[in-house]
Subunit: 197 residues, 2 copies
Amino acid sequence: MDTKQEVAGRRMGPVGSDNWHAMLDGAETILREEGHAALTSRRIAEQIGVKQRLVYYYFRTMDDLIVETFRRMSARELARLSAARESAQPLREIWAVCVHTADARLVSQFMALAHRIDDLRREVVHFIDASRSIQVEAIAEAMERSGTKSRVSPAGLTLLATSVALAITRESALGITTGHHDVRTVIFALMDDLEPG
Amino acid sequence: MDTKQEVAGRRMGPVGSDNWHAMLDGAETILREEGHAALTSRRIAEQIGVKQRLVYYYFRTMDDLIVETFRRMSARELARLSAARESAQPLREIWAVCVHTADARLVSQFMALAHRIDDLRREVVHFIDASRSIQVEAIAEAMERSGTKSRVSPAGLTLLATSVALAITRESALGITTGHHDVRTVIFALMDDLEPG
DNA sequence: GTCTATACACCGATAGAC
DNA sequence: GTCTATCGGTGTATAGAC
């Protein structure tokens, strides 16, 4: 994690260094608290106490920085999902990860940015594919182990669960709660069948 | 629809006039095709063939224009939902409205902007509340009429359906289709029970 | 009503010193 | 590695003529 880069003859800062991480931390904070409009090189520099020029020493463009921010975050999230997958109660743990760590605001900012930044869109697609794979495996295994029959395939159940998890976090952030409790009850009843104990 | 306004002594263009609508049309198009970053007064003026100054004759600020764009669009959407609600097959019609007209890109742009613009966030909350009311009523009535029993309340079913409808449109736009077919099958099976014919 | 012209702030990105 | 300084561009918004 100390690879120096050189792009088109320009000296670049080491990937994975303290400043590098600090800048991504700053980007995350700004995105979460102020939104994409405030995510500028100057704002990031101010946030972590360096000069604006330094941002361009570590990242070739602002878009690069944004993509890297998402990449680091999604890697972290996938690691959490993998860990949950291998826990004693995979389904409940995965549900907890989906509901508690997916910051709805951050997600909406990245989704909007993915519209414009092709590399980011590719990363988003990769993240959704990868996380869904983990979830589908977990559900398929739980169905087999518990002998539960369902009209819905593991892939279908996964889409259902992730959809409502995201909707619940998004709406909660907006102060909307209609139907949330009822859906949670259904999800937990389903998990009681699939993952007893 | 011809109310002239005056704000802080500044002459303002008539709400509902041709130019007023043209500007909102332009804003929608730009948001859909280029994203929020491209939504500027200059870009809108260019889009509809007027000078940039005119945008500020019809709208006090860009944020006002954005809020108005969402307001007009959500009113249109609510009208569609109401019409679907009173059709022969309300559930199927409402599902069609949710899946086909909710442009996932536009939604993500507005959600991201709502982070920053308080008035927009209020409009978004109002829209979600209003549309959900219509949907819950439709489902409750269908359950009663068909005598269908369900573990899930109408509000819960509504949240489930709207969540997956949005997820399906969003993911389709990204080229992801895992589980989509299976979930659609479940939804349609459910509607076969609730709304025979 | 619609325009020209413009003030002013801020942004991304780079050159080059230390 | 980190900095000062700066260029060129673009954004919001307003004053005031026609």
